[in-house]
């Protein structure tokens, strides 16, 4: 730690507990930060693309997660370094905003930083590098918008959307069933989408998982699935034309919040109370019955007596349904959530065509499926899978695919994947760099080279020779002016990404570039770090 001296030559201390801290300054700090960040991105690199490998993560409690999803890997990685945490946040913000392309953004940021490192070694000032990156990024985003292709979508023909969802699923462990899953995603999104406003509320799509069965057994339900069963074992397993009473009050005698004491001092009082209690139950059930409801969905539990009464009055009931699900059911069936028995009226009931209980395998698992809701804006994907790990990974993959479809409904522009758009941008940027006068041109070239890292990683993961593949694609893109040539990861035999149907949304690509550049600039700006000494 450097010391500061006053005018009499005595050292004085600026930072508190200075001896207990480590200070890294200047280039040293930037280098250390870059090293930390690239170490994260290098780990992620092998997960990129359809042939990317998985990572196995063991949590603190010994639970095993096998995944290929960038955001999940980083989240579970238990990172301690501040700069590495920035990378984690980077992936998370891509995940929140777009939902897909989390691995890509981390790999790109890592590549940018590696390039920046080389420029630093050649004595370029960090802020100059930042400027150059900025200009290059702006150019790239412009170019992406130019080469973007507007996807034709009509209500009848969803094949394009399905293909886009399949691209998102191709890198996941579920890629064997990508066709079926992609179709499910598209149906789910279209079921809840508001096409006029181009808005999709993904919260209306629930992804439920049940261990057991095969992935092929997964099914799409236009409605809601809740992980509960009928409260009385003998209630009918199916209710058609259900009128649903959604209750948030328990089928129990009231429990006033105020502390009170009810004292019984005579036999009459005892009997009175008994009668009152019995009346409670009968009046509760009567109210429900009178409103015309034939299904009660309750957030709380039932007393045995109430349960039996409901059954005798031919009313089905589901108890202990979670708050979120209650809201979802209310939204979907057009019912109102009723907090008190006095307020039950026929208008407040929800409607659904069919409510049924479903069984699985040799186990006793049951779920309740609510279909044909009054307001169709609800969809559930029920995922089946061999084991919990496959199930969780499928859920994550479906989330990504759903996001892609949503983004396409918001904005129909797409760019071609397989590294095609990165290569196109890289070509444009290096051309612009040649025309640039200032020292930024070096930074711009570096940016172009960093963009090449994506196709290189794709080729590497697919077992192709990276340099050869990249150079041949670049040459063909320049010669033929086709911006849709990319890495043939699956060995189909063509570099034409239009034929291979590998799309990504323009929004996602743009976001990737912007976020990665931003992070890179941020790390380049840090020139001083104070850390508590790890020894203490």
């Amino acid at each position: 730690m450097s010391l500061v001296f006053d005018e009499y030559g005595r050292p004085f201390i600026i930072f508190k507990d200075q001896e207990k801290q480590t200070r890294t300054k200047g280039l040293e700090a930037i280098r250390a930060n870059i090293a930390a960040a690239t170490s994260v991105s290098r780990t992620m690199r092998s997960s990129l693309g359809p042939n990317g490998m998985d990572k196995l993560l063991v949590s603190a409690d010994g639970d095993v997660t096998v995944t290929n999803d960038g955001a999940t890997i980083l989240k579970e990685m238990n990172v301690n370094n501040e700069v590495a945490k920035l990378m984690v946040d980077l992936a998370r913000s891509q995940d929140d905003e777009i939902g897909d392309g989390t691995t890509g953004v981390v790999v790109l940021a890592g590549a940018l930083l590696e390039q920046a490192q080389q420029l630093l070694d050649r004595g370029m000032h960090p802020s100059r590098i930042s400027d150059g990156f900025d200009r290059a990024c702006a150019l790239a985003v412009d170019h992406l918008e130019q080469i973007a292709h507007v996807l034709q979508r009509s209500k009848a023909d969803t094949s394009e959307l399905v293909r886009a969802a399949m691209t998102a699923l191709s890198s996941k462990v579920v890629n064997r069933h990508s066709q079926a899953l992609a179709e499910m995603c598209v149906r789910a999104v279209l079921a809840v989408a508001d096409l006029e406003r181009r808005d999709v509320n993904l919260e209306l799509i629930k992804i439920e998982g049940k261990v057991g069965g095969r992935l092929e057994d997964s099914l799409f339900v236009e409605g809601i699935v809740i992980d509960k069963d009928m409260s009385h074992p003998q209630m009918p397993k199916q209710v058609s034309g259900a009128k649903i009473c959604i209750l948030t009050a328990p089928f129990e005698p009231p429990k006033p919040k105020t502390k009170h004491r009810l004292e019984i001092s005579s036999v009459e009082q005892y009997q009175e109370l008994q009668q009152a209690e019995r009346d409670y139950f009968t009046s509760m059930v009567k109210r429900v019955k009178e409103s015309g409801a034939n299904l009660v969905i309750c957030q709380w539990g039932f007393d045995d007596e109430a349960n039996s009464l409901l059954y005798q009055h031919d009313i089905c009931a589901v108890r202990w349904v979670g708050g979120v699900e209650i809201e979802l059911i209310a939204m979907a069936t057009g019912g109102r959530i009723i907090p008190r028995f006095e307020e039950i009226t026929p208008e407040k009931l929800g409607h659904a065509d069919c409510v049924r209980e479903m069984h699985f395998g040799t186990t006793h698992d049951k779920v309740i499926v609510i279909e044909g809701c009054h307001n169709t804006r609800a969809a559930t994907i029920l995922v089946r899978g061999g084991n919990k790990m496959v199930l969780e990974e499928t859920k994550r993959s479906l989330h990504d695919a759903l996001c892609v479809v949503r983004n396409l409904i918001r904005d129909q522009r797409i760019v071609y994947g397989g590294g095609a758009s990165e290569i196109a941008c890289s070509i444009v940027i290096s051309e612009a760099a040649d025309r640039c006068l200032g020292p930024e041109q070096y930074a711009m070239r570096a940016f172009a080279e960093a963009l090449d890292a994506i196709p290189i990683a794709l080729a590497e993961n697919s077992g192709l020779s990276p340099i050869e593949t990249l150079s041949s694609i670049k040459a063909r893109q320049i010669a033929e002016q086709k911006t849709y040539l990319g890495v043939d990861c699956l060995g189909i035999g063509t570099m034409d990404m239009r034929e291979q149907n590998v799309y990504e949304t323009l929004e996602s690509k743009k976001q990737q570039l912007l976020l990665a550049t931003q992070l890179c600039k941020m790390i380049l700006k840090i020139d001083d770090m104070l850390q508590p000494n790890s020894l203490n």
């Binding site: 890294t24 040293e28 930390a36 690239t38 170490s39 290098r42 780990t43 490998m53 998985d54 990572k55 196995l56 993560l57 063991v58 603190a60 409690d61 010994g62 095993v64 096998v66 890997i73 579970e76 990685m77 238990n78 990172v79 301690n80 370094n81 590495a84 462990v173 261990v211 095969r214 074992p233 003998q234 005698p253 009231p254 429990k255 004491r261 009810l262 004292e263 019984i264 001092s265 036999v267 005892y270 008994q274 209690e277 409670y280 045995d304 007596e305 349960n307 039996s308 005798q312 395998g361 040799t362 186990t363 061999g386 084991n387 919990k388 790990m389 496959v390 993961n461 077992g463 000494n533």
Partner: protein, 537 residues
């Protein structure tokens, strides 16, 4: 000035302390080692001559078993790959009920073959691709060889079911009297009339006697007794099944309590309470039942009342008990007693208290819904009983699933050899490196009969070679005869297994192997610190 040193791999540095990372070859190696270790452990239990394992729990409980799922559940291994294998075995148990050992062994063999390919620098993704293609091909071959089960009512169908049960039981402790148990299992499943709900078959274990004394009881057995002083036999029983408190009927309104100023008042209120209970009893009486079954306790007073009025009462039948009873007798479960006539009572021809070993149990005969039955297993010690129950459960699962998917394939390694030959033929036509993986897949399949032969003390290599030759010459039903140690016609020996079991095994094993092979990086978080003062927190 302290310098921050960055090691070449780097990631370790940015992880929280005592987290660890294994990359690439290292990661794969450690996963494979773990997976192979656990399959080697399981391997010796495979097949009719497989050996058993003794599992000792930390509390000193002893468990002797041959059941793959049970062994895997009990073994604690600190290796993530093992967790994956345990998972698939448990799911196999859930979905099909049997074949848990086979699925692990196949996954293990697939990984063992993959390890050799990896040593030859083949990319894991290529291996995965080859495995997938091979699994598809194997499934097609399996489907082609599958034969449909004859209708269960015919003699041929009954024999076929017996064969399946015999094959499923042959690898278990029950094999000494498998003929007996196969018959029990088939008879029990036939009562279900095509339902897969095994709830209707209750397995009751009673110490004493020998396994051969086990029997299938007609009707339903409840491990309870009638109340004191009640008849031991009820004919034409009308059963009211209830879930209601019959001890004291508390007032449920919150905060209610009794406060009185004199003893007489207390006595009055007590009287009122009693009266309330009696009132309930009278109402129950008005339902016209002659047997009353309650999930909760029945106190002496109401029990006395029932006895006086000629009603037999059964108390404390647990949740499962009353639900099952409601199912078999066709009654409704009630908790309020205000509407006599509106409730369907359960019916049953005879309820009798009988003795099994030393314990009295209730036997419900000729119930309205005559689908239920009980199997009583007798055995010399608890371990045998437990193991017998597991084995019987496996057989029952397999048989009941045949109602859903009635196709059969041949056992004794025949199906595996058949699939292996199909995959071999397919691999020969394949172009590209994945063909090597497909060949490896065939080898792994062939290793299964090899393991069975090994466990029986035969020359595995020569038997596998013979099997392969027989299948190549078009003998599609050749398999391993465990008695002679030679190959024989499985169709003649009656060694058959369900198609669903084999198909599921193939699918899960491939999936698990693929999952492990696709991993190139293992990141372990630091184990959560245990508080030494509270080791169980």
């Amino acid at each position: 000035m302290n310098q921050i040193k960055v090691s070449p791999t780097g990631l370790q540095k940015v992880l929280r302390s005592s987290s660890s990372e294994e990359k690439g070859e290292n990661a794969r190696l450690s996963l494979l080692t773990g997976a192979l270790a656990i399959t080697d452990l399981l391997k010796t239990t495979l097949g009719p001559r497989g050996m058993d394992k003794i599992l000792l729990s930390p509390s000193g409980e002893l468990n002797v078993t041959n059941d793959g799922a049970t062994i895997l559940k009990a073994v604690h291994v600190d290796n993530p790959a093992v967790k994956i294998l345990v998972d698939i075995a448990l799911v196999q148990d859930d979905e099909v009920g049997d074949g848990t050992t086979s699925v692990c062994c196949l996954a293990g063999e697939l990984l063992r073959e993959a390890e050799q390919l990896l040593e030859r620098h083949m990319h894991p993704q290529l291996i995965v691709a080859g495995y997938r293609a091979a699994a598809r091909e194997a499934l097609v071959a399996l489907e082609q060889s599958a034969t449909s089960l004859p209708a269960a009512e015919t003699a041929a169908g009954y024999d076929a079911l017996l064969n399946v049960a015999r094959t499923a039981l042959s690898s278990k402790v029950l094999s000494q009297c498998r003929e007996h148990f196969a018959k029990i299992a088939v008879d029990a499943v036939l009562r279900l009339h095509g339902s897969t709900n095994l709830d209707h078959i209750k397995i009751i274990k009673k110490l004493g006697g020998t396994l051969a004394d086990s029997f299938l009881a007609d009707g339903f057995i409840l491990e309870k007794r009638f109340g004191v002083g009640q008849k031991k036999r009820v004919e034409n029983a009308k059963i009211l099944i209830a879930n209601t408190p019959m001890d004291t009927d508390k007032i449920k309104i919150y905060g209610a309590r009794v406060r009185t100023d004199s003893i007489t008042r207390v006595a009055e209120i007590e009287q009122a309470e009693q009266e309330k209970m009696m009132e309930k009893c009278r109402r129950i009486l008005s339902y016209g039942c002659n047997v009353f079954v309650n999930r909760q306790l029945i106190y002496n007073r109401p029990e006395q009342f029932f006895t006086d009025h000629g009603i037999n009462s059964i108390e404390h039948a647990d949740f499962d008990g009353i639900e099952r009873l409601a199912l078999v007798t066709g009654g409704e479960i009630v908790s309020t007693f205000d509407s006599p006539g509106g409730v369907r009572l359960g019916e049953c021809a005879v309820i009798e208290e009988i003795m099994i070993g030393d314990d009295p149990v209730l036997h419900f005969q000729a119930c309205r819904a005559n689908e239920a039955c009980s199997v009583v297993i007798r055995g010399a010690n608890q371990q045998i009983l437990d193991e017998a129950e597991r084995s019987l459960h496996d057989a029952l699962c397999v048989l009941s699933q045949l109602a859903v998917e009635p196709r059969l394939v041949l056992g004794g390694g025949c199906a595996e050899a058949l699939m292996a030959n199909a995959v071999d033929a397919f691999a020969a036509r394949m172009t590209g490196k994945s063909a090597l993986a497909a060949e490896a897949f065939a080898r792994a399949l062939r290793n299964l009969p090899g393991i069975i032969a090994d466990n029986a003390g035969f020359d595995a290599t020569s038997i596998v070679a013979k099997l392969r030759a027989a299948h190549a010459q078009g003998d599609g039903s050749a398999g391993l005869d465990i008695q002679t140690g030679d190959i024989a016609d499985m169709r003649k020996l009656g060694v058959v297994e369900s198609f669903r079991l084999k198909a599921h095994m193939l699918g899960s094993a491939t999936e698990a192997a693929e999952m492990i092979l696709r991993v190139d990086d293992v990141i372990k978080a630091a184990p959560r610190k245990m508080d030494p003062a509270h080791p169980h927190m």
